[in-house]
């Protein structure tokens, strides 16, 4: 029994396959197969540019035009994707979670608890749930604060929240606070978080 093949096939392949089935294929079947959840592509998500995106274009017309041109679903899609890329590259998701649990009074603090459907889209592939909250959860960030707050906060968090330990992202903004392309994208992405929850017909 205590030979090569036992450990290669039974332990190595067999035990892995069992776990793979139970903790991956089963949840996949529950979530995708039987509940018929629809997957939203980037085009679906960006159909209607958000009010916050429109407002950015009105407040910084020249800088916005240089970065994204006109407000339409293509430029909105580009901003969302770039915003997510910056968010991932800066490892924002290691200090901010993106899901609200049903426990610990989280629904009172952040907003309604997360559903499975709201993550079934291109901007959650891979998901950005995170495992640590140094800063608060961002899963219900949409519309909570104005664009100006986000811009001021990203430039220097301590100016807005004096005790914050968040790093400054001033390199995404010009001297006078006008966002550069990444700045626009990041604010657009942050103001998007929670949109798919509302689209399910829920109210935050």
């Amino acid at each position: 029994m205590e030979r090569f093949y036992t450990f290669f096939f039974v332990a190595g392949l067999g035990c892995f396959a069992l776990a793979f089935t139970l903790s991956m294929v089963f949840p996949w079947m529950s979530l995708d197969g039987y509940h018929g959840m629809d997957y939203q592509t980037m085009e679906d998500l960006a159909q209607t540019p958000s009010a916050e995106f429109v407002q950015l274009s009105e407040e910084y017309p020249e800088a916005f035009e240089a970065s994204f041109g006109a407000v339409n679903s293509e430029s909105y899609a580009e901003a969302l994707q770039l915003g997510r890329d910056v968010y991932v590259g800066q490892a924002c998701w290691h200090c901010h979670s993106q899901y609200v649990r049903v426990v610990s009074n989280e629904a009172q603090r952040f907003g309604p608890a997360s559903t499975a459907q709201e993550f079934q889209n291109a901007l959650n592939q891979p998901h950005l749930w995170g495992t640590r909250r140094v800063g608060p959860d961002l899963g219900r960030e949409k519309g909570k604060r104005p664009n100006d707050w986000h811009i001021a906060h990203l430039i220097r968090p301590k100016n807005v929240v004096p005790l914050s330990v968040m790093p400054s992202y001033d390199y995404y903004f010009e001297e006078d606070g006008t966002p550069e392309k990444e700045g626009f994208a990041l604010v657009t992405y942050l103001q998007w978080l929670g949109t798919t929850y509302e689209e399910e017909g829920n109210t935050p």
Partner: protein
């Protein structure tokens, strides 16, 4: 110890390629230096003293260097060195090829450089413990960086063949416990990496993808690092103590419990989430089950030490191994509680988890690799350790440092967790954590100092003139000798 250990290689060449062992250990040491420096710098962000303001040195990116170099730079290089030493000696067969060994070494260090540079340029992938860049713009097949993930697969496959060849060539012999762990662990490494980096990135979004990333975080530690760790314990402890492991039955239980239960617990990284509850129940139950059975392995090792407690004084390697085993038991004990929903409500998302991760990754597996280095380095360099006091400093700074860090972060996590539940203002929670973050940085500084003692000692030993006289550790081992 099994008789296969004593078989010389057929062609008269040295069974072990010491050059590759030394190369990988050196690379591991450098990776550890960079990783711990990055971790220390990152901890300064929490105190408001982070020194860099440039985009490419942003604190979040430096954090990725810390975690990924710890896993892929330090532990993978270290374990590879250990396998180059242990597998040929346990099977009596040489590895596949020495020149492939050079290729693996070069490929792996290139991977680390490409991944590190990728992090600094913001090309990370959104998979925890697998942030190594895919090299593709998300959702497309346009290259935007070196495809590190694909290179890791190539490197890992080469590593696996390199070591599977001697294992396969010894298929007619009865395997010693270490080889059970090494064989299965190498298979798991490939499967785990492929699963975790491909499925959530390209196939499954959202909650179903989260079940996979949870499994990936879990399996990388449980199905690669843990088998390599226990494999090396089963190899080095009897070798140094010159007596067999106490109970073969307990070894069997420990191995098969790990193989069966461990991979079933992956979803416990995302409890109380939109992942279906029945999957979470399964993960919780199996996690508690494995902690119970893992205790048998710890018992087995402490019973082996019975009658040889003097080794804790006389052998620095044994001291590292058993300090690590105690930390392992504490981590597992903690795990059996923290995996329940009752604890999760409070401690998930807090520093408790950070403390837990450091205790297992540093307090256990890094300690065990320190033990391997302590035993192996003089034998590879054929020089005596240059400084005895630096060895002691390294040990005590590490033990104290990681213990302080663990208790500090555990308390910080409990406080922050209860304050979150009690709806305190968020900034109150942050400010209540600051004193604990100071202690964390200081304890991290202790770990860093200890590690610098080791690296300097390794360097001084390699350069010294004091020849190490090889003790006859290939001679048959007698029970109770």
């Amino acid at each position: 110890m099994h008789a296969a250990t004593l078989t010389p290689s057929e062609d008269g060449k040295s069974l072990v390629n010491y050059r590759l062992v030394k190369l990988h250990l050196t690379a591991a040491g450098i990776a550890l230096l960079l990783s711990m420096t990055a971790g220390f710098l990152y901890s300064l962000q929490f105190l408001g003293f982070y020194p860099f303001g440039q985009e490419w040195l942003a604190a979040g990116r430096v954090r990725l260097i810390h975690t990924n170099l710890a896993a892929y730079g330090w532990l993978v290089n270290g374990f590879t060195a250990m396998l180059y030493y242990a597998i040929p000696r346990l099977t009596g067969k040489r590895v596949w090829s020495d020149s492939i060994g050079n290729l693996i070494f070069a490929t792996w260090q290139f991977i680390l450089l490409a991944a590190g540079a990728g992090f600094l340029l913001g090309k990370a992938q959104a998979i925890e413990w697998g942030e190594t860049p895919t090299g593709f713009r998300p959702g497309t097949f346009e290259l935007n960086w070196i495809p590190v993930d694909a290179l890791i697969v190539v490197g890992a496959v080469l590593v696996i063949i390199q070591f599977m060849v001697p294992l396969y060539n010894a298929r007619k012999t009865k395997f010693y416990v270490s080889l059970w762990y090494f064989t299965a662990g190498l298979v798991w490494l490939a499967l785990t990496y492929l699963m975790g980096n491909i499925i959530p990135e390209w196939i499954l979004p959202g909650a179903a993808g989260a079940a996979v990333t949870g499994l990936f975080i879990h399996d990388l530690v449980g199905l690669y690092v843990t088998p390599m760790g226990w494999g090396l314990m089963y190899f080095f402890v009897p070798l140094i103590l010159r007596k067999p492991i106490w109970s073969h039955s307990l070894s069997v239980i420990g191995f098969w419990a790990l193989a069966f239960f461990y991979p079933l617990g992956g979803v416990h990284h995302f409890l109380l989430s939109p992942i279906p509850d029945y999957v979470e129940y399964g993960a919780i139950t199996t996690t508690i089950a494995i902690e119970v059975v893992v205790t048998t392995v710890v018992v087995n090792f402490f019973m082996t030490l019975r009658g040889r407690w003097d080794a804790l004084r006389t052998s620095m390697a044994i001291r590292w191994f058993y300090a690590g085993a105690i930390m392992y038991f504490i981590t597992c004990f903690q795990c059996a509680f923290q995996v329940t929903w009752m604890f999760q409500k409070i401690i998930h998302f807090t520093d408790w988890v950070v403390g837990h991760a450091h205790l297992i990754m540093f307090g256990t597996f890094t300690f065990w690799m320190f033990g391997v280095i302590d035993w192996l380095w003089p034998r590879i360099c054929r020089r005596n350790w240059a400084s005895q006091s630096l060895r002691s400093w390294h040990f005590w700074l590490s033990v104290l440092g990681v213990s302080i860090m663990f208790f500090d972060l555990m308390i910080a996590g409990l406080i922050a967790g209860f304050m979150q539940k009690d709806l305190n203002h968020w900034m109150e929670i942050v400010s209540s954590s600051v004193p604990f973050w100071w202690v964390r940085t200081v304890s991290g500084g202790m770990l860093l100092t200890g590690m610098l003692c080791m690296l300097y000692n390794m360097y001084a030993t390699a350069k010294s003139n004091e020849i190490y006289v090889e003790e006859d550790n290939m001679a048959p081992l007698q029970e109770g000798a």
